[in-house]
Symmetry: C2
Subunit: 676 residues, 2 copies
């Protein structure tokens, strides 16, 4: 079996057939008995009938005296009834009704003889007449009073909680397949039941497979062996940890097995063990990926493969197999692929095994801020950030690579592009599966534009200061940010566009791109741009003029970014032909990623800001100081989120943080520099 | 301090002042370090920065060959480029890019020499040339091929996942106070982090206080000592178990301390211990209730009391105290009171200590099916069942006693009657805090009318058969059911109203009460009504005629119930003056509760159905067989829930269950007997 032979089965068809097949093979929820006190959130396996009544006795609902109501007949203000000690029994709330009594008079309505003392004190005094096992020792000296007076008749059964008032023995407390809540725990225990038959949590086993080690002969130079080991370790660890958390969240128990190599016999051995201990087994190709065909073969040897290959992206290489009634799933090694396959295929199975009514997915319409181009052949799951801009929900597609696990972490929703649909235009209304609450979306600040690590710090300061605000940044460059504001898709846009003629930043571009105005340009910082160079500057780069040198690998920012516009300008200024620069067309989207590639030796130089160079301990050759502003459309100005952002910009904490990062000049952040 | 001195502080004022006071005293979230893999659902205590890039190396995104893109320049169908072994390196998905290479060509685009073999096989063959540590042993015999052909040029950096493509070292993965999700776990581990600083779960201690034992001198005769012990035990156990589940659900850890007596010194001792181990302490008066004043005194001795007594119902006797920064709460012993006090007072504190954005309460409007009369002086929390009838959400108040824990278990919502509001009329639109999802409310079948235990069995069969349907029954008697249907408040109504003139059941009443028609009367069962008598009939009751006898305690059903109408009729028929019957005005709402009171010796006789008598092993004197029908309004007829109910009525399972319960004649359940 080879990659080419993958089937492209539509997802829904595969899901339906897989579930039917497993149920036909005997897959079914199992039950177990648990103490009621530990049953919160569990699902009842059968109807729960009360064993005893609650209350079990007729009990007093008040503090007072219990008596036969008949004794009080005719009692009134002017015709009080006096009762001797034997005619009443003092009772506390919850005390069983003494034999022969059928009413309780609350303590406030008991008039004492001799008069004078009332209420609580009286009660204490009455109680003194009763044997007390747990005396307080602090009420000594009270007088003993045996005779009481009543001046209102008692109705039979008044202030009495009757046997079975809450629950009658034999009554059904909960039907089958009910989720046990805290109050249900109270009711079930009150009904005399101490252990409960509930649906057993299905046990899912995860076996990472494939070559976990990074072959040393292929490794770039590593200065930090610890980091290298961490990287190798993490590649093996992060999928199982992530998958475990998902499965546990849906109600499964998880056994994480040690990773095995990609060989058939190894996989078979691990699978056999897992099948003996689990209800569900997941074979997860590690990163680097193992050989998918061995996964399918191992499943076939221990059961059968229903299908190999789904018409979805990511997740195409999933293997849907089984061993009798137990699902055995081959899940691709890429984290995004594994999330999608496990959510689509395993979640309904776990919900079935938990006998839980599946949560209904919530969908909404949103306007796309960027086009989505999808293969007709596949159903694609595109993660999007969302936020309300001008009362319209805007969806911005996140990185679509199968390895971009942060795209799931950041996602507010998923656009499920159906099979047969090729693309969605920018500005088009699309249906989005929502992953956040309405409130979270309302508190989300949408930043689209130029990248600076200070945006993350703003987001942090917003959370520390105001808790509930989140800020999502899309790094599309300064021009992209201005266009996003023009299209009503962003609350703020970072921008640092140099007007070569005037030497001014941003304003002329705003006039050109947003001729209708309706925006405010907010001062943020001045920051130092320069050439980031490998530590020690081994290639002896002295300035932009030398970038076209032989054996020098440059790494660039994407077109439309302020930094790209700057390097284009600097090259012109220095008479450098950019087509002579090796790597000028190799584009990254952030200062940080340019710095990271230089630090790793994958490039020798790139233009970027000082704070990024400092983060990676790179050499830095300053070339200019530029203005980095935030553009805010008027419609967003009054939003609480935006006003809080302005407060944060003006705060001492922001200033301190940026001073620590280095390379920033902080003058009057948060003030309006220009409006139109 | 006595009951009279309780303050009636408005809830919101108390909550605000309590929170402010605790924060002033230093109450604050604490942090701890946990392994990332175990951090799902936890809240980050600080910003999380990546330690390493992910990917850590430039890695191949495909299976194929890595090479220098320049080698392929000019390659085309007619101008293929041939490469020798040293000019390319076979790579698997995820393999680090070998030094000196800057592009990957996927295996499908590699043309082999000699021609003939393609794709997957080729790859195996290419790989044979590489050292393999974990050989499968199942691919032997492949030829070794060193030379490959390319007929499409490779672009630099194609099919390569760049260093930091997902995460750059130094980048913020998550800001502070973010809830860790499964994909965040993946991202954090990929960023080289293995343990995470998160907000520590606050520890809440629960100390049950008060006299837990039922004083033997006050006990009615007990035949079943085990049940008695169970009842006593449960009274002590069910509050702490319920409260623990609530607190854990909000993110706290819980220590359940053993119950202590109500004495001051005992409470003080337990409180001291708990304060040394917990962040929050709850003193919960057990049922039977302890002495509330000792709770307040114990708190005062270990700290201070901010207030004693809230203007809420239930929950008035709450004590809000503290010991330095630690909240110490005195919570009433009644389960409903304790739920309300803990939810209102402690939930925001736990959310604060967990640094979690509180879930926003959801509210909706609903039409009341019964009036609510509330004391002006208190804010009252009335639990309601809800369901959609005629596209209108109907709210039916549940039992309001503080001891009715099932009212919380059954509640779909809470009507929060504000202080100063005295009552809501039946039919009035009220604001309801919703406790269920919209979907759950849509799948809820509203049954209002006459009681029969078979309704619970219908509810059970609906769940077993269809999983997601729930049925809530309000027992208001047959007349109440007819009126509920008339007012558009119920989907179904159980009814068994005897027309004394014709001997027919229900039809004449429907014509009278629902003259406009629009209903179908569905046959359910015939059932046997009779006198339920204590086991062995010790009072020698021989029929209705003897109910007025000396020393005989009757227990009745409520006015408007079919059974009450029947006993009224039977008494007239037998010439019995009902005012002569002791207990004729003592009313219960279900057959089961009448049976329970007779079984407990609290009454000697009551009219009810055979299945209830059988459940409690009572003697039974049959007096007639009656028709028990279900009335369904036309607007509900087509609902899926109602159609499924009809299926269940016709099922063999229903028949079997009723035969086991006894006293039913099952002919054609589910068929229309009458419509108008």
């Amino acid at each position: 079996m080879a990659f080419e032979h993958l089937t492209d089965i539509p997802l829904e068809k595969a899901k339906t057939e897989y579930m039917e097949l497993l149920i036909k093979n005997g897959m079914a929820p199992r039950t177990e008995s648990v103490p009621v006190a530990e049953a919160n959130g569990r699902v009842t396996a059968g109807p729960v009938y009360a064993r005893i009544c609650s209350p079990y006795n007729n009990v007093s609902a008040m503090e007072g005296v219990a008596l036969d109501a008949e004794l009080t007949s005719g009692a009134g203000e002017k015709t009080p009834v006096t009762l001797a000690a034997g005619q009443y029994v003092p009772v506390s709330t919850g005390d069983p009704l003494p034999a022969g009594r059928n009413a309780v008079i609350m303590i406030e309505d008991v008039v004492k003889v001799p008069a004078g003392a009332v209420g609580g004190e009286l009660r204490e005094e009455i109680r003194e007449g009763e044997p007390r096992e747990t005396g307080d020792g602090d009420k000594e000296g009270s007088r003993v009073n045996d005779t009481i007076t009543i001046n209102k008749p008692a109705a039979p059964w008044q202030h009495i909680r009757r046997i079975g008032e809450d629950i009658c023995a034999g009554e059904m407390i909960l039907p089958s397949f009910s989720t046990v809540t805290p109050s249900a725990i109270g009711a079930i225990i009150a009904g005399g039941i101490s252990s409960l038959s509930v649906i057993k949590k299905p046990v899912a086993g995860i076996i990472p497979t494939g070559d976990m080690h990074i072959p040393p002969e292929n490794c770039p130079e590593m200065e930090d062996a610890a980091a290298h080991n961490a990287a190798a370790h993490n590649a093996a660890a992060h999928n199982p940890a992530m998958i475990s958390a998902m499965l546990r969240g849906w109600g499964a128990e998880v056994i994480s097995y040690p990773a095995v190599g990609g060989g058939l016999s190894e996989i078979c051995g691990a699978l056999e063990t897992a099948l003996s201990e689990c209800d569900i087994v997941i074979l997860n190709a590690g990163a680097p990926a193992g050989r998918a065909e061995n996964t399918a073969e191992a499943i076939a040897e221990n059961g059968a493969v229903m299908c190999r290959g789904l018409a979805i992206k990511p997740g195409r290489t999933a293997v849907l197999g089984y061993s009798g009634p137990k699902p055995v799933l081959g899940v691709p090694g890429y984290p995004v692929s594994s999330i999608i396959v496990i959510e689509q295929i395993l979640r309904p199975i776990i919900e079935y095994l938990c006998r839980r009514t599946p949560e209904v997915d919530r969908y909404t319409d949103a306007v796309l801020s960027k086009p989505i181009v999808s293969a007709l052949k596949y159903q694609e799951f595109v993660r999007v950030r969302m936020g309300y801009v001008k009362e319209q929900l805007i969806a911005s597609p996140l990185g679509r690579g199968s390895g971009i696990v942060t795209s799931f972490m950041k996602a507010d929703g998923i656009v499920e592009v159906p099979q047969g649909v090729g693309s969605y235009e920018s500005g088009e209304k699309v249906r989005v599966r929502i992953l956040r609450s309405e409130g979270e979306l309302r508190r989300s600040l949408v930043a689209i534009g130029s990248h600076d690590p200070l945006l993350d710090e703003l987001s942090e300061l917003l959370r520390v200061g105001y808790g509930d605000i989140s800020m999502g940044s899309a790094h599309v460059g300064s021009m992209g940010g201005l266009i996003a504001v023009r299209r009503g898709e962003a609350h703020i846009a970072g921008t640092h566009l140099l007007d070569e003629e005037t030497g001014e930043y941003n304003i002329s571009f705003i006039k050109k791109i947003l001729p209708k105005g309706g925006v405010k340009l907010i001062e943020c910082v001045k920051r130092t741009q320069g050439l980031m160079l490998a530590k020690g500057n081994p290639k002896n780069i002295t300035g932009v003029a030398g970038l076209a040198g032989e054996g020098l690998r440059y790494i660039n920012r994407q077109k439309g970014s302020g930094t790209r516009i700057l390097i284009d300008y600097l090259c012109r200024l220095n008479g450098v032909d950019t087509s002579e620069i090796d790597g000028y067309s190799r584009e990254e989207y952030t200062h940080t990623s340019v710095a990271a590639l230089i630090a790793a030796g994958s490039a020798d130089a790139g233009l970027g800001i000082y704070s990024a160079a400092k983060l990676y301990d790179l050499d830095f050759l300053p070339v200019c100081r530029e203005q980095y502003d935030l553009l805010i459309p008027d419609h967003a100005w009054e939003l609480l989120t935006v006003q809080r952002l302005l407060e944060v910009l003006k705060s001492a904490a922001f200033r301190q943080k940026l001073e620590a990062m280095g390379g920033y000049v902080i003058e009057n952040p948060g003030t309006v520099r220009f409006e139109s």
